[in-house]
């Protein structure tokens, strides 16, 4: 385990050094990536301003949900870039994955360390800006419990999204082609979580409550931080199951990943 971590650290070190090699190009990429967030959230914000609110949620409250997801998803996207389904699917198809398997080194550490897209930090930075805007305009009554719970929620979200990426990546062992559908799980999931769950049709909400329990990761914590009433009458502990759900997802995904590797058959070409 220690050995694996050491390997991971070295691989990531190489990634960071190589990406920082072309400073100007890196900065340009960073700005371009950050611009995506500005434009996406900007357009939502402009329209919500016009309408006043989104089914009773004010813009700063939406920003709380949106910023939280933006921070966690993009931080995860950076850490778990190696598992990013389209990319990982490519390494499987091209046989580069076989090369990794041949090395007597922990495979998970190798895949994790194979790619770390630093420019995602541009998006994380703007996620933080949106979240800071939310914190400054929402009248949050801070308690010690809330202060301690906030980092836990962010970590749980990262674990949850990371789990989705690992599962998505593993599926590419079997489906070489239809990878775009997996975007529904990852990007679709994060899009859904950027808005209050009350706005979706019932079937979709049930899906995100009972099958992929995303609702507990930021919607319920947001209700707790913003002192909003629960529209679905769940038990009072609902805002606090986020770490359980998030890390269970990551744990489950690693099980699926192990299973996938054990049943992996190379294309052999």
């Amino acid at each position: 385990m220690r050995h694996a971590f050491d390997i991971y650290r070295r691989l990531v070190g190489v990634q960071i050094r190589s990406q920082m090699q072309y400073r100007a190009s890196f900065l340009l990429d960073l700005v371009a990536t950050a611009l995506t967030v500005v434009v996406e959230f900007g357009s939502v914000a402009l329209v919500i301003q016009r309408f006043g609110d989104l089914q009773g949620w004010q813009l700063p409250e939406i920003a709380f949900l949106y910023g939280l997801v933006e921070i966690a998803f993009n931080f995860m996207d950076m850490l778990f870039s190696g598992f990013d389904p389209p990319r990982f699917g490519l390494t499987v198809r091209q046989g580069t994955f076989d090369q990794l398997l041949l090395r007597p080194i922990n495979i998970t550490a190798q895949v994790m360390g194979s790619r770390l897209v630093l420019r995602r930090l541009g998006r994380v930075a703007f996620g933080i800006a949106i979240f800071a805007y939310a914190l400054s305009l929402n009248d949050i009554t801070w308690t010690v419990a809330k202060l301690l719970y906030l980092p836990v929620v962010i970590a749980s979200l990262i674990a949850f999204f990371g789990g989705l990426f690992v599962i998505g990546g593993t599926i590419t062992f079997w489906t070489v082609d239809s990878i775009e559908v997996l975007n529904m799980l990852t990007y679709g999931g994060s899009f859904t979580m950027s808005y209050p769950m009350t706005i979706y049709p019932n079937w979709l909400r049930r899906f995100f409550t009972y099958i992929v329990p995303a609702v507990f990761l930021n919607f319920y914590p947001a209700l707790y931080f913003l002192d909003k009433p629960d529209p679905f009458d769940f038990p009072a502990f609902a805002p606090f199951v986020a770490p359980l759900v998030g890390f269970a997802m990551l744990w489950l995904s690693l099980k699926v990943w192990r299973f996938g590797i054990q049943h992996y058959q190379s294309t052999g070409s």
Partner: protein, 263 residues
Amino acid sequence: MRLFWEIARRNFRRHLTYRAATIAGLITNFGFGWLRVSVLLALYDDRSVVAGITETDLYGYVALTQAVITYLAMFGWYELMESVHTGEIGADLLKPMSYFQFWLAKDAGRAAVALLLRGVVIMIFFSLVFPLSYPTNLAQWLWLATAVFLSWLVSFTFRFLLNLAAFWSPNARGIIGTGFIFGWFLSGFLMPLRLFPQWVQNIAYLTPFPYTLNLVVEVYLGLLQGPALYQALLTQLVWTVGLAILGQFVLKTAVRRLVILGG
């Protein structure tokens, strides 16, 4: 003209072969459409019309945004850039037709497949599930077809121009990508332009972007009638010609500084 037709046909067939990707793309487009409709409907809440757009129009708007993603290459188009970076451009410049026409032909084939396999199919898909409204008379259908065709030309001339950045920088991807991101915002892809504050709309209409997706949406929903409609379609044509001329001009400068390494 024969050569143009031949290149377009070949690209049409080449793109037609990616069937699995098409089906996967459909499911994704459809899923995202559902999410985006939910957000817009929640915004409307109990209002029925905002800025001329009715609640039912929202379904049509979202369906159209999903339908044209591949047709107008909304998420990015880097083919020309790649051909410059790999040196393929050397052979392309020797072809017995202008470089602009060559790419126009290639893109025509690509866009035709995207329009038929993705665009039309997505619209049918959406109409089965959501209460879509349709253009009500033949004239409106014809205007729609015109707007759809011209929107491709505006989009192509813009993409051609943007991709020429590859001649100046080996990192053109970032520059080109930035152009597309502005496109999402200003073409009404993220939100219908009419729902933005007036000053944002004013800025948007100084650029060619509203003459791609947003105009198609407005013609489809019947928001533009009479003189306003003719003026909008004419402006599409003006942008096409303007961007094409600018593209030719930039291309001339670009080719002069082009050095292709043999090997």
